[in-house]
Amino acid sequence: MADQDLSHAGASGPPGYAVADLTRLAASGGVPDAAVLARRARRWGWWYYIEYWLVNAKAWAVSIGLYMVVMPLVYLIALGLGLGLLVDRGVGTVGGSGGSGGVPYLTFVGPALLVATVVMSVGGELTYPVMAGFKWRRLYWAPRATPVSPQQIAVGHLGGVLIRFVLQSTVFWVMLLLFHAAPSGWSWLTVPVGVLTAAAFGAPLQAYAAHLTDEGYQFAFVQRFVIMPMFLFAGTFFPLSVMPVYLQWIGWISPVWHGTQLARQAAYGAVEPLWLTLVHLAVLLLFTSVGVALARRTYARRLGR
């Protein structure tokens, strides 16, 4: 069919593309009905965005991969082995009551570092890149012109980022094993806990970033006054209970503390009442779902419904 049209194709216009090919280019018949495509997009649009995010992440794979391996090493050596040596010499063990039932400091701090470092990485993934999507590079506007919806773009971006944290948490967990810092058989559960904590902090942060229309100088504020305090005061380096009561609320309201406590249970069987474990889970799920709902709404508003 293409051949018969070729005869009167090459004569006009610059070289590079014959008219016969163009008819095929414009309508090869390989594209299904609009209703079919729309149905696919309604169901899978969020995943299409994740696919895009993953292809995009390939460009950074080496540096992210290196970071994922080096960061746990640095933290575990410095805090677990270095500081841990001092702590263990001083008080013996941590986390027990009255000096008994505790674990070595490395074991205590290891799963907490997994959670805390993941949350710190969230601070980079769901702030400036969100602003780039709406404004700086207008990347969200590309899928917006397709059957994919703004809500799916929001969920897809979060989803892509969480896939990164599955990897990052897994690498950290393997490091914990190598350092003999995760004695429990359930220690692999630190991986889903890390990802859930990333979602619990990431989704609201994404919603907040989506709502900003200026140049994003607020992100430095988030870094200094939200992420750093969580890192230092939410039970990562010492049990929340050793802090004065008037500072403990920082832990209670931060996803990091709830995630950390869960990770400790998984990694070495830290003992907590069942209700508190359920509270940890509930808080993380609540942060995540409220964050996702807000992000979806904000994306829809900014990209036009």
Binding site: P14, L25, A38, A41, W141, P147
Partner: protein, 323 residues
């Protein structure tokens, strides 16, 4: 399966007679600003339709309402018989969109930009991989397939954006200011590509504030200003209806133009005074120039040219297209 079903079928037939896009009394209000104010038009299948007007005329807003990425305040809008406000994904599934500002992913390769965009339509990789290569050929970017978009020139990025908009073989292509910011040569290459697409049966909807682009690309167009349609027709009809065959442009120097204008008021059928020159509308520009000379006026420069859409716009709004 009774009267109701019949009624709705009639509605589709009535609205679907060859019109791919139909707008009736379209409005979009932002607070107190009526960005689009009662706009009506119909675009036939295979037609190349233009929205000509200055920045802020409501062209891009109209385009976004067509694609369903912006909700209208009032009026009727159908694309292939569907309301984009209700069936956005269905409408966009067979729509190609070239936005005013490129939103390519500069970190991704040229080819991946096409493939990943195609995924948003739910198209499989088996279709997209060969399609991407064809599109790169079409956009004359085959050699750049593996390059990062950030390394392309402005004209190449624009061609890539157009190629990307074709990945789903759209029946309608929405082009918002397709050649703004490009040099003349790059513009001509793009116009050639778009013209070929139209020949292949793709309906083109183009917004532009360049009259030469409108004349090159559009079978038919509406002139928009302040969210309203001022006139509608083919470029020739509009020029014939709102201007004379020729225009005489004379310059007497900024200080003297106004004085000269008073003495030339009855030359030609109409006179426009612009800051830097006078435009004398006459069917015979040379004759008008002789009349100017006969009155003892000698302009610094003079030029006789054919009327263009720029003149139509000036006549309709009293302003230039590009302020």
């Amino acid at each position: 399966m009774t009267s109701r079903a019949t009624a709705s079928t009639d509605g589709v037939v009535a609205s679907g007679t060859q019109a791919v896009i139909r707008a009736v009394g379209l409005t979009k209000v932002y607070g107190r600003v009526r960005a689009v104010d009662g706009v009506s038009f119909e675009i036939a299948h295979g037609e190349s339709f233009g929205l000509l007007g200055p920045n802020g005329a409501g062209k891009s807003t109209t385009m976004r309402i067509i694609g369903g990425t912006l909700q209208r305040t009032g009026g009727v809008m159908t694309v292939a018989g569907l309301d984009p406000a209700e069936s956005g994904p269905e409408v966009r599934a067979h729509l190609g969109v070239v936005p005013q500002e490129d939103n390519l992913d500069e970190e991704l390769s040229v080819r991946d930009n096409l493939i990943m965009y195609g995924r948003y339509f739910g198209l499989p990789y088996a279709y997209l991989r060969p399609k991407a290569d064809e599109l790169l050929e079409f956009a004359q970017l085959a050699e750049w397939a593996k390059a990062k978009v950030g390394d392309l020139s402005g004209g190449m990025k624009r061609r890539l954006t157009i190629a990307r908009s074709l990945v789903n073989e759209p029946q309608v292509l929405l082009l918002d200011e397709p050649t703004t910011g490009l040099d003349p040569q790059a513009r001509h290459v793009l116009w050639d590509r778009l013209f070929r697409l139209k020949e292949a049966g793709v309906t083109l909807v183009v917004t532009t504030h360049f009259m030469d682009e409108a004349e090159q690309l559009c079978d038919r167009l509406v002139v928009m200003d302040h969210g309203r349609i001022m006139a509608e027709g083919t470029p020739r009809e509009l020029i014939r209806g709102y201007s004379t065959r020729e225009v005489l442009e004379v310059r007497f120097g900024a200080e003297h133009n106004a004085v000269a204008a008073e003495r030339l008021a009855d030359v030609g059928s109409r006179l426009e005074v612009l800051p830097d020159r006078l435009l004398i509308y006459a069917d015979d520009g040379d004759a008008a120039l002789r009349q100017v000379a006969a009155r003892g006026l000698s302009p610094i420069t003079s030029l006789v040219r054919r009327s263009s859409l720029e003149d139509v716009f000036l006549r309709l709004t009293g302003r230039s297209l590009i302020d």
